[in-house]
Symmetry: C2
Subunit: 333 residues, 2 copies
DNA sequence: CCTGGTTTGTACAACGTTGTAACCAACGAT
DNA sequence: ATCGTTGGTTACAACGTTGTACAAACCAGG
């Protein structure tokens, strides 16, 4: 059976509140009373009822992390770091899978808020500032692209700079016909737009003409999409000598398609990705990529949320930039 | 501001309980009262306080899924399916990352139970039956190997049979020096033991002598461990012509090590894995593997938990076996 | 021995919800 | 006319916890 403060109190011969005080580490409890209470707690294997505590305190000790898909390695790795960082603040993380659609994201953002959650770390794809407005001031930190200039805190990586750097690296390898995989025209494609901007900037700096035929769209950023886009590029006859894929799973798909068509990487075509997921360190060939500091991103997000919860709830929203670096491996050494 | 039943009641000119009745879909509410209340709910953007509801009802509507590591693709994919299946029952899933150590798992199993959770789906590595005993009857479904004959419901795949089948397939390819990667002597290695059993059984059936030197241990089942184990096998001079890796990430690591040593897969060495993770469908070469029906596993687990919660809390524990099949691809066609 | 402060403990009332019991009206059956 | 029955609504009391206010016990210093 489950025991309550009352049971412990009776057993220890004190009042309910005294037990509560012991449980909460209140200072002024005589040593022997405290000992009696603690003994009773152990004997009864007492555990506080969190629902009751939450009701009373108005805090739940749970924050949510909402990501589009858990089985996209980038989000899984990110989730791990967030869980770790949150644990240091004594929070439990409720991981929510939005699916990435606008409707589901809206639902996740608002529906979750039903008092189960103290705050939210949200990695939105489709969400607009309007959607966020309906959140009744739920403390929130956004990851990834800014949603217009929404009212929420933000952790980003400098997508444009990163994309420019990795593209410039491909240029530095002597490549001139550099393709891009992953462009998106939909509103969800904020990351895609920024990375495309960086790509074109790097080409311009190198004096290479932008060729629309070298830019392949990808509806989602899964391996299958990367493979399909690569096959499409190869079929059109515009033979690239390098490809910058807007994330690593796209790149792994592209590697696969290149392999199937008998092209060698990096000899015939160099390949670069974005995210630095674990897979890319063991793929054949290993993957050159932009490595955002995921641990840092997670830590910053949790700290922003912590500030928002404890200190100024109405402070102006902050935007922090997490560092990135290039991880150069076999596919574009 | 956050509104309460009371606010809605005042606005609609009814009692708190009537609003509660409307919210909970109680039948006997006059159409016009219901309309008035619903209007007030919308106007105030009322959301029930779940902590209060939970306190009152003794249920939270949240189940936990505890897995060793989120960024192991198998668990991420499984998590996705569990979230989906749970949503159909109206549950939210709190995903917990145990880290796989005995101490942390114990903590996850017991600590989580602080009334935040109606039930638990647990994929333990290190847990023993004793650990589970301390759980005060928290409804629980275990995934993976049975923990002795613990008191909890169980969803498993037939590891022995599956390992036997995939090994037999390697035999069928004409391979005779078939290595195994992933054996573990630790108590956490229940899956490893079962898969090793299936492997040896298949060898015995084929009349192939068991060679201890062909069995490589792996402390964890990550890509790096697979690569290291493969390198070790190759360095000892016992040249295998096939490898059965106890999971896919090990196999991907092994592929990498084989590539580095200049061996061709499957020509020189055939490689097979276990789990059928997404990566294996795009690796070079694509990976032959045992494909457990992850969606089914998740669905069964959720349903077992649902039964346990609604019906007989004291029914004898059940064990369900989820189906598997062989997914034969390039690495061992 | 009193005074005034601190320490230690208690009673009570919330937090927001829902189950129970009860009430009042309107109804058809006796 | 009287009696149940049903539909619609309400008041009240819980669920288990903690903040507030206060009482009792204790400790110094005069």
């Amino acid at each position: 059976m489950r025991h309550r403060l009352k049971d412990v109190a009776e057993r220890a011969g004190v009042s309910v509140k005294t037990v509560s005080n012991v449980v909460n580490g209140y200072q002024h409890v005589r040593a022997d009373t405290r000992a009696r209470v603690e003994a009773a707690i152990v004997e009864l294997n007492y555990r506080p009822n969190l629902s009751a505590r939450n009701l009373r305190k108005g805090r739940t000790g749970v924050i949510a992390l909402a990501v589009p898909e858990l089985d996209i390695p980038y989000f899984a790795e990110l989730a791990r770091h967030v869980v770790t960082a949150a644990a240091e603040h004594g929070w439990t993380v409720l991981i929510d899978q939005t699916g990435g659609g606008p409707e589901q994201e809206r639902k996740a953002a608002s529906g979750i808020g039903d008092h189960m959650i103290d705050g939210l770390i949200f990695s939105p794809l489709a969400l607009t500032a309007d959607d966020l407005a309906g959140l009744d001031g739920m403390p929130m930190v956004l990851l990834g692209e800014r949603v217009d200039h929404g009212p929420a805190d933000h952790v980003v990586v400098d997508n444009v700079a990163a994309a420019r750097e990795i593209t410039a690296h491909l240029v530095g390898l002597g490549r001139r016909r550099i393709a891009a995989i992953g462009s998106q025209r939909t509103p969800e494609g904020a990351s895609a737009r920024l990375r495309l901007t960086g790509y074109t900037a790097a080409l311009a700096e190198a004096g290479i003409a932008y060729d629309e035929r070298l830019v392949a769209p990808a509806p989602a950023w899964h391996r299958a999409d990367g493979a399909a886009a690569m096959r499409h590029l190869l079929s059109t006859g515009v033979r690239p000598d390098a490809v910058f894929c807007f994330n690593d799973t796209l790149a792994l798909g592209a590697l696969r398609a290149l392999h199937e068509s008998g092209l060698r990487v990096p000899d015939d075509v160099a390949v670069a990705g974005f995210d630095d997921i674990e897979d890319g360190r063991f793929s054949i060939p290993t993957l050159s990529t932009v490595a955002p500091d995921k641990e840092r991103i997670a830590r910053l997000a949790v700290e922003l949320l912590a500030d928002r919860l404890t200190a100024d709830r109405d402070a102006p929203p902050r935007e922090l930039v997490a560092p990135h670096r290039l991880a150069l491996r076999e596919s574009a050494p």
